[in-house]
């Protein structure tokens, strides 16, 4: 693949009016087609950084480029064609009386013709498994369903880049996995995905790269496997790899590799040791 990277951030600084510095020199390049997890404690600057990708916030210093275009020259409504942003709380956006109308809002703002809007709504709702709820009132759906409506309403804009701000916070485990499976599928279909989360098990399972932010700076950036296997930087940001990775490191004397990411992987490396036991 050639062409400019999906996201290119150069020495980005930002300060909220009257507040301390929120971003202090962040540089980051995300290639088209990557699946990147952004982690760090609350207040580390994750959401502030993400809001620069679609122009909701403007750099105080530094530069943000999306597919080579400087965001400083584009309005939010223009950037909305390239970067979709799914917010943490679906109730901050849902306002229409039917699910279909809610999902149609974005494409209509982009100026799509009616038949195109209909096709996009249909595809987005099918993708998040809400086809049968298209005429339902979104306010009466469960929290998990509302989160999927919000996801569909951004998907219908068919942006090459997707930013998800804590998509699974406040969701139960089943819903979290459902949402992340959908997001992973979008990534396989070619979307560049950047998601913010506190859930290291989801990072281990779905991301290929992890960016750790602390006090407005990138303190670690690399493959999930390498980053979790050397947990020094994580610990410095009060983060810990998933339990199963910690167990694998404890089991080093048994020849277990320290970069195990999931229970399935652990079972695979244990299989020769336990012989016929287990599944």
């Amino acid at each position: 693949m050639s062409g400019p990277p999906a996201v290119e951030i150069e020495d980005l600084h930002y300060r909220y009016p009257g507040g301390p510095a929120a971003l202090r020199g962040v540089s980051l390049v995300v290639a088209a087609g990557e699946m990147v997890a952004m982690v760090g404690q609350n207040g580390a600057g994750k959401s502030t950084l993400a809001r620069h990708l679609n122009g909701l916030l403007r750099p105080a210093a530094g530069r943000v480029r999306i597919f080579g275009r400087d965001t400083a020259r584009l309005r939010v409504s223009e950037l909305a064609r390239y970067v979709g942003y799914v917010f943490q709380n679906p109730d901050h956006q849902i306002f229409r009386e039917t699910v279909a109308a809610e999902v149609a809002f974005g494409p209509a703002n982009l100026g799509c013709p009616p038949d195109e809007i209909e096709a996009r709504v249909h595809a987005a709702l099918r993708f998040v498994n809400l086809e049968e709820k298209r005429d339902a009132n979104p306010h009466l759906l469960s929290r998990g369903e509302r989160q999927r409506v919000a996801l569909a309403s951004v998907l219908a804009m068919q942006t090459p880049v997707l930013v998800l701000d804590e998509p699974t916070t406040g969701q139960d485990y089943r819903t979290s996995l459902e949402i992340m499976e959908r997001v992973a599928e979008l990534n396989r279909a070619g979307h560049t995905v950047i998601f913010i989360t506190h859930d290291m098990e989801l990072v281990a399972r779905y991301a290929s790269r992890v960016v750790v932010l602390a006090r407005g700076k990138v303190v670690a950036d690399g493959g999930v496997r390498e980053t979790f296997a050397s947990p020094g930087v994580l610990a410095a940001s009060h983060l810990a790899p998933p339990d199963i990775t910690c167990l694998a490191r404890e089991m080093a004397p048994w020849g277990i590799p320290g970069d195990v990411l999931t229970v399935e992987e652990m079972l695979a490396v244990l299989a020769p040791l336990v012989g016929g036991r287990g599944c």
Binding site: A80, G84, Y85, F87, H92, F95, N109, S153
Partner: protein, 261 residues
Amino acid sequence: MSGAIGYVSQASPVHRLHALVKVLWALGVLITSLAFTDVRYLAGVLASVLVVAAAARVLLRLLPALAGLAVFALILVFFQAVFLDRGRVLFYIIPWAKILPVTGAGLLLGAAMGLRMLSIVLSFLVLLATTQVKDITTMLVARCRVPYDYAFLFATILRFVPVFLREARQVDQAQRARGLVVEGPNPWRKLKGYAPLAVPLVLLSLRRAEQLAVALEMRGYGQGGGVAADRPLKNRDRFLIAGLVLIIGALLAARVAGYGT
């Protein structure tokens, strides 16, 4: 302007005053601003408010809000100047077609409205920046015989102002991220453009109100009681109250006598 509303924890001569003095001062600004229409008198009122803000060391903090209000005030001036068609025409907004005449009377009335709004809003921002809400409510209940429920309601509304503003910002961001553009020349489209912002905000506020009711019920609100004793007035406070009452009285008397209209 969310940063402009609310208590600023610092020491200043204004902070040290009793809540009653500052409430009386804000009311005085309100009454005199409404009473006078002469731009010179109103400019004087605004100047006095700015002096108090400076003495309280909150002027810099209120500056962004002040700038926003000034823009709003200018719009007021513009509308008054354009739509009040009496008196001598000074100039036309569109001179070659002689459309939208601006009259001297209109300009003055507009300026008066703008100054009034600035003084009133700013005085209340200074009050809130220098006085703890608790002190205001205690004072209202203990000295002004305001029923506790009303004083508490007032305090609760202030408590949720920053929450509401934060949520408004989040809703605004979520909709703009989906390509919403509220600007534009067509007023009907503009009005319709606010539904995506207003509907989520109203629903969120309703949910919050229900949770607030639950929280109050669980903590025994409404079983009587609830107010501690008010702080005693110091001599400094008494002196200022007397002074304020005299000044407000004198200004109102002057107004009745025909000055400053």
